[in-house]
């Protein structure tokens, strides 16, 4: 039961979910409002394309809200949302990996000009890593090197150090053993440190 008289934004996630299950649209909106920024940020940093990140974020929330009745309260609500968001991003990256052949130019293109044209066509869709934020030099550089990490390292480092999620929650989100999550985060930090070393000189 939710305590009466308190504005919805002061309720815990679990309480808002209960309200949503009673069919209250306000509660649905509150859940989206709470998680739109972290979910969009995570997905954007995974797929690096604003339009696509919007689509995948929308897909995430539609999935979450339409299945609100099947949400199991023994999980943290945030873990459930991030799990679905991460799955959406990873699925997209896998599909894109399958299309990698055409990324470097169509296999059917024979002349160098044709190869260049088909390759450009695709890279036009990619947003420059620095377009979306007037970041500091370090911030911008970090965004770029994060983008070069393996997807599983990327999710781990973003959830841990950008979102401040605990190791346990990350393990739950990614369905990985705790030890694996720790290893991924150490390796990711090592790779980032090495990649950013030149900035310290």
């Amino acid at each position: 039961m939710t305590p009466p008289g308190r504005p919805l934004m002061d309720h815990t996630d679990q309480e808002v979910v209960l309200e949503a299950r009673k069919g209250k649209e306000r509660a649905y909106r509150e859940l989206v409002r709470r998680y739109e920024r972290p979910v969009f940020s995570l997905i954007f940093r995974m797929v690096r394309n604003r339009e696509l990140a919007e689509d995948l974020s929308q897909e995430t929330f539609i999935k979450v809200l339409n299945a609100i009745d099947s949400y199991r309260p023994e999980f943290k609500f945030s873990s459930w949302v991030f799990k679905i968001a991460n799955n959406a991003a990873i699925d997209h990256l896998r599909r894109r990996e399958l299309d990698t052949l055409s990324l470097d130019g169509s296999p059917h293109a024979v002349t160098p000009e044709a190869i260049e044209a088909t390759a450009l066509q695709i890279s036009d869709h990619q947003e420059s890593p620095l377009d979306y934020v007037q970041a500091t030099e370090l911030g911008g550089e970090i965004e770029e090197v994060i983008a070069k990490l393996r997807p599983e390292y990327r999710t781990c480092i973003l959830l841990r150090h950008v979102d401040g999620r605990s190791y346990e929650e990350i393990a739950e989100i990614l369905n990985l053993p705790l030890g694996t999550v720790k290893t991924y985060i150490h390796r990711a930090r090592n790779e980032l440190r090495i990649a950013l070393e030149h900035l310290r000189q």
């Binding site: 649905y28 989206v32 969009f40 929308q58 539609i62 950008v162 930090r189």
Partner: protein
């Protein structure tokens, strides 16, 4: 003075971000330039990661999501609440109550008014049932004694040694059958991953 403890492990490096450092690590960091430099760059990195901004989706995101979400009309858990949710559900529930309650009442009244007829039907059913049961039993027994293997079976059953051997054989067969069945219907020990989403 140099410390004798080894360089920081990955877990210890991690602890640098979480908690106050134990004395031995502090001493080591004061003495070991390599670990000190690693901790410093790691701390800078984590601080920079924390400063990365959360990004906003374009305005109207919530509305675009809500346009594609179906909020169930029965978003209410218990069935009394579902019945009371709208006039229509209340009317439906009332109609069903009238139909089912009326039918039950009518059948009770009819039974009370026609007790003799019902008793007659009951007696007739009982007599017929008993007759059919004995008829079936007798014909089965007759068919059995006419089988060619009936005499052999009689011999086995009347000799205690043979009977014991047959019973032992049957028990073994039954036991292995039960074991095989248990194995077939056993629940897998490992949970199915991602079964829910």
């Amino acid at each position: 003075m140099r410390t004798t403890r080894p360089h920081l492990s990955a877990d210890e490096l991690d602890a640098v971000h979480e908690t106050a450092l134990p004395a031995d690590i502090r001493t080591h960091l004061a003495d070991c330039a390599a670990c000190f430099e690693m901790v410093r760059t790691d701390q800078d990195l984590v601080a920079a990661l924390k400063r990365l901004p959360h990004l906003d989706p374009s305005p109207g995101f919530v509305d675009r999501v809500m346009a594609r979400v179906v909020i169930p009309a029965y978003g209410i858990r218990t069935w009394p609440q579902r019945i009371l949710a709208s006039r229509r559900s209340l009317a439906t529930a009332a109609s069903w109550t009238v139909v089912i309650g009326g039918a039950m009442m009518a059948s009770v009244l009819w039974s009370l008014a026609n007790r003799d007829l019902l008793m007659g039907w009951g007696d007739q059913l009982l007599t017929e049932g008993t007759r059919l049961f004995w008829l079936g039993f007798r014909s089965t027994a007759a068919a059995l004694t006419e089988q060619p293997w009936y005499q052999e079976l009689r011999i086995i059953v009347t000799s205690p040694g043979r009977l014991a051997a047959v019973l032992a054989g049957l028990s073994v067969a039954f036991g292995s059958g039960v074991l095989a069945f248990r194995h077939l219907v056993a629940i897998p020990a490992r949970a199915v991953r991602d079964a829910n989403w």
